[in-house]
Each structure stands twice: as structure tokens, then as C-alpha cells.
């Protein structure tokens, strides 16, 4: 009897837990606290941090072949979930502000500066090109794209990259405003922009088809992301498949978010996560966000000059994706200097352009280093 009890105790997690696993359990609890109490991107950080907790339960082996999460994780490894998330994102996104003000596409492109400066920084810190590309894409502030690229180029860094990307996306209201104020004058921040023109239904229907053809021809590896984003948007705008549109933007995206978040979190096992590289990735991710914001604002300043003071440079910072948080930050910063100034819809243009820009950048990096 005593021997049986001893044997049973030997099979429990209490006697088999390592110090590293204890630290990981503590980290996952801290992340859960941030997600639930501080509301840092809770829709993703709750499943990610709980997945992290599950992956570090001793002897559970949920992520080993045959384990419960292993099979669900195949959707990440085979690059199925991120495009499906994009399908839902597309169904939820109104590209009207972008169609009404096409120059905002350039702001979405400029904000990709963060990706490439971080790529450079990561290379100098000793990461190989594939790892550096995966870390750099954090600067795109687009979780599904970061996961899509990392799972192909550096799956061992996936957990750290996902945690970094989603944590900083939640911290956009803290990271961006000081950079925006530093790079702009009060006069620039007070610019009231012209009202956007109305966009016809036909334009909204043609837009996703044109973007899919143009972007996919240019960077074929980005076709899955861009194609799903635009298919979701076509569901929304064409007006004849309302059921599909509703499913994509509600049930489907919620189910995929649970699968994606939990399994990406579960890749953060102690041996993968508790490394000096994770701290480097967190620091590089912060730099990526800062540089992306700066790139967008600086091009915004150039557009302010070229347009004779008609463009508020604050809309440039929204080019880092993080929809719609980054656009809201532009609005809040603008209203601090001029209450009643409403640039939210103008900032939504670069914001959604940033999503397309990041997907194209991911395609470029896959073309260069995916082989």
C-alpha cells in the first residue's frame, strides 16, 4: 500500500517539476494577470498565456506527438490558422477610408521601416537571417502575420515572438504617443484634415479583387494572407453572402483564435522560452514598434509639407497596423492639442494599409529566406 502511494506520488507533477517549469508557470500567471486585470489584448493573451501554462505542466506532454495540443498545433505549423484569422479580419474591416484617401497607403508602407531596422539589429545581435526576419516582423504590429512568418522561418522562436507582438500591440497607447510628440510640432498636430469623400459600393467590391491580384502577383508567398484578408472583405462588401460574412467575423475567427492562441502559447516551453534570446526578442520588438511609428510619422511630416499643411502627420503612426488601436492613439494625441479635431477616419486609412503592407513584407521575407 505504502509502495503504491509512493509510486503514485512519483507520477505527480509536484515531485517532477523543474525550476524552469516553475518560472514558466509564474510567467504565464503574470501574463494572465495582465490580460484579465489590465486588459492587455485579452482575446489573445488569455489563450496564449494559458497555453503556456499547459505546456509547462510536468509530465503532461501536451505538445509532444500524440498530445492533445500537438494535433491542434498542426494548424499553425501548416500555416492554416493565420490566413483564416485574416479572413475574419477582412470581414470586419472597412477599407472605405483607405479608398477615399489612397495616399494613406504610403503611410502604411513607411511604417514597415520598423521591420527592416529590427531585422538589421537582430542580425547584428547574432541571430541568423531567418530568425532576424521573424523578429523584425513584430514591427508590423500584426499578430497573425508574425505567427505566419515565424512558424515558417523560426518555429523555435514562435512563443517569444507571439508574446512580444501581442504584448506590444496592447502597449501601443503607451509606446507611440511620446514618439509622435517628439517628432511633430504642435502646429502639425493641430491640422484638421478635409472630410473624406463618400465611397461607392462598386469601389468597395472592386478593391479586394484588385489588391489580391496586384499583391499576389508581386509577392506570391503572401497570397494566402492577402487572399484570405480580401476574401473576407469581399464577403462583407458584396452584400449577397451576409451569412458567410457574419460567420467569418464572429464564429470562425473566435474558434481559430482559441486554437491559435492556445497552441502558440504552448510552444513557449521552458527550454524554448527561458533563454537570453527571449529578452533580446522583447527588446528588439519594442525597438521595432518605435521605429515603425517613427517611419510613419516622418512620412506624414513629409506629406504635411508637400500638401501645404493639409495632412496631419499623426495619422502616419497608425501605419503600424494594430487595428484599430493605433488609429485611436492618433485620434487621442490629436485631440489633446485640439479638442474637437477628429482624425480617426483619416488614421484608419494608414491603419488598414499597414495590414496589407505587413503581409507584403512577410511575402518578401519568405521569398528571400523561405527556401
Amino acid at each position: 500500500m505504502l509502495e503504491q502511494i509512493i509510486n503514485f506520488i512519483k507520477t505527480t507533477g509536484f515531485v517532477n517539476i523543474t525550476i524552469q517549469q516553475s518560472i514558466m508557470l509564474l510567467i504565464s500567471c503574470i501574463l494572465l494577470y495582465l490580460a484579465i486585470v489590465k486588459k492587455y489584448e485579452p482575446l489573445l493573451l488569455v489563450p496564449i498565456s494559458f497555453g503556456m501554462l499547459l505546456a509547462n505542466i510536468p509530465l503532461a506532454n501536451l505538445m509532444q506527438k500524440g498530445g492533445f495540443l500537438y494535433w491542434i498545433y498542426q494548424g499553425v505549423e501548416l500555416d492554416i490558422y493565420p490566413p483564416l484569422i485574416f479572413l475574419g479580419v477582412g470581414a470586419m474591416t472597412d477599407f472605405g477610408p483607405l479608398i477615399a484617401y489612397p495616399k494613406s497607403l504610403l503611410l502604411g508602407a513607411a511604417a514597415q521601416l520598423g521591420v527592416f531596422t529590427t531585422f538589421l539589429g537582430a542580425t547584428l545581435l547574432g541571430f541568423n537571417f531567418k530568425e532576424a526576419a521573424s523578429i523584425g516582423i513584430i514591427g508590423g504590429a500584426d499578430g497573425p502575420t508574425a505567427i505566419f512568418l515565424s512558424s515558417k522561418l523560426a518555429p523555435h522562436l514562435l512563443g517569444a515572438i507571439a508574446v512580444s507582438a501581442y504584448s506590444y500591440m496592447a502597449l501601443v497607447p503607451i509606446i507611440q504617443p511620446p514618439i509622435m510628440r517628439l517628432l511633430t510640432t504642435k502646429k502639425e498636430r493641430m491640422v484638421t484634415m478635409e472630410q473624406l469623400r463618400p465611397v461607392s459600393k462598386t469601389e468597395k467590391i472592386i478593391f479586394p479583387i484588385i489588391v489580391t491580384i496586384l499583391a499576389s502577383f508581386l509577392v506570391p508567398p503572401a497570397t494566402a494572407l492577402i487572399g484570405c484578408l480580401m476574401l473576407g472583405n469581399l464577403f462583407r462588401e458584396c452584400g449577397v453572402v451576409e451569412r458567410l460574412s457574419k460567420t467569418a467575423q464572429n464564429d470562425l475567427i473566435n474558434i481559430i483564435t482559441i486554437f491559435l492562441g492556445t497552441t502558440v502559447g504552448a510552444t513557449a516551453s521552458a527550454e524554448n522560452f527561458l533563454r537570453i534570446q527571449t529578452i533580446e526578442i522583447l527588446l528588439l520588438g519594442l525597438a521595432a514598434f518605435a521605429m515603425g511609428t517613427a517611419g510613419g510619422v516622418l512620412l506624414g511630416k513629409l506629406m504635411y509639407v508637400l500638401s501645404g499643411g493639409k495632412v496631419n502627420p499623426l495619422i502616419g503612426s497608425a501605419g503600424v497596423s494594430a487595428v484599430p488601436m493605433a488609429a485611436r492613439v492618433s485620434q487621442v494625441v490629436a485631440q489633446k492639442d485640439k479638442p474637437g479635431n477628429f482624425i480617426l477616419m483619416h488614421a484608419m486609412g494608414p491603419n488598414v494599409a499597414g495590414v496589407i503592407g505587413t503581409a507584403i513584407v512577410a511575402g518578401v521575407l519568405l521569398s528571400l529566406y523561405g527556401g
Binding site: 483607405l98 479608398i99 489612397p102 495616399k103 497607403l105 504610403l106 502604411g108 508602407a109 513607411a110 514597415q112 521601416l113 521591420v115 527592416f116 531596422t117 531585422f119 538589421l120 542580425t123 547584428l124 537571417f129 532576424a132 526576419a133 472630410q195 469623400r197 463618400p198 461607392s200 462598386t202 469601389e203 472592386i206 478593391f207 484588385i210 489588391v211 496586384l214 499583391a215 508581386l218 509577392v219 479638442p339 474637437g340 479635431n341 477628429f342 480617426l344 477616419m345 494599409a353 496589407i356 503592407g357 507584403i360 513584407v361 518578401v364 521575407l365 528571400l368
Partner: protein
Amino acid sequence: MNSIAQDLMESLKTGLLGMGIVMIALYLLSLILDLMRYIFYPQARQLKKNEKNGEPVEEIKQQEPPHEQDNQELVAVITAALSEYLQKSATHIRIGSIRQIHKTTPEWGRAARYQNVYNNL
């Protein structure tokens, strides 16, 4: 040292190529969207033509309602309504001016006004 220089060069090349491709792609897209504006939004063509000819752009003139000076009854009604809406005593509300808000105000313009009211700006 040589390896670091090589890595640096490769990173710079990737950066230039990547930024170049994304800039060109999105610029091309913006040109297509501009073209779409001319096709599907004929007012844009008219505005451009007027600008070229040096003609002033015709502005939509909205009829101002007759000035309601000294309309104490209207002031009293609006003060009472605001008092109820903001849950504040009427003695704490001062009406500076009364202006009709046109229905053409876009949704976000109205949202800004509501936000200002809620923040007591």
C-alpha cells in the same frame, strides 16, 4: 569582423529591397485607387477641371436658419433638456450660443461632439 560586415551588407540590401517593394506595391495600388476615384466619383473630375481653369470650387451653401436673438423661451427649453441629459442643475449650465447642427454632419463629426459633451469640454 568580416562576417559582421557581410551580415550588415545583407541586412541593408534586404531592408532596401523590402522597403522598395512594399513602397512600389502600395504606390501602384494608390494610383489604381486614384483611377477608381475618377471613374466612380465624377465630382472629382469636375473639381479638378474647376481648379485647372482657375475657377473657385463651388461650395455647398447651407441655408442658415433665421437668427434667434433674444429667444428666451428656446434658451430655457434647451437649458432644461441639457440639465436633464447631463444630470446637472440648470444653474450650472450657461448657454453661449445656439446653432442648428445640420443632418449632413458625418457620423464621426457627431461622435466628436458627443465626446466633448461627455468630457464637459
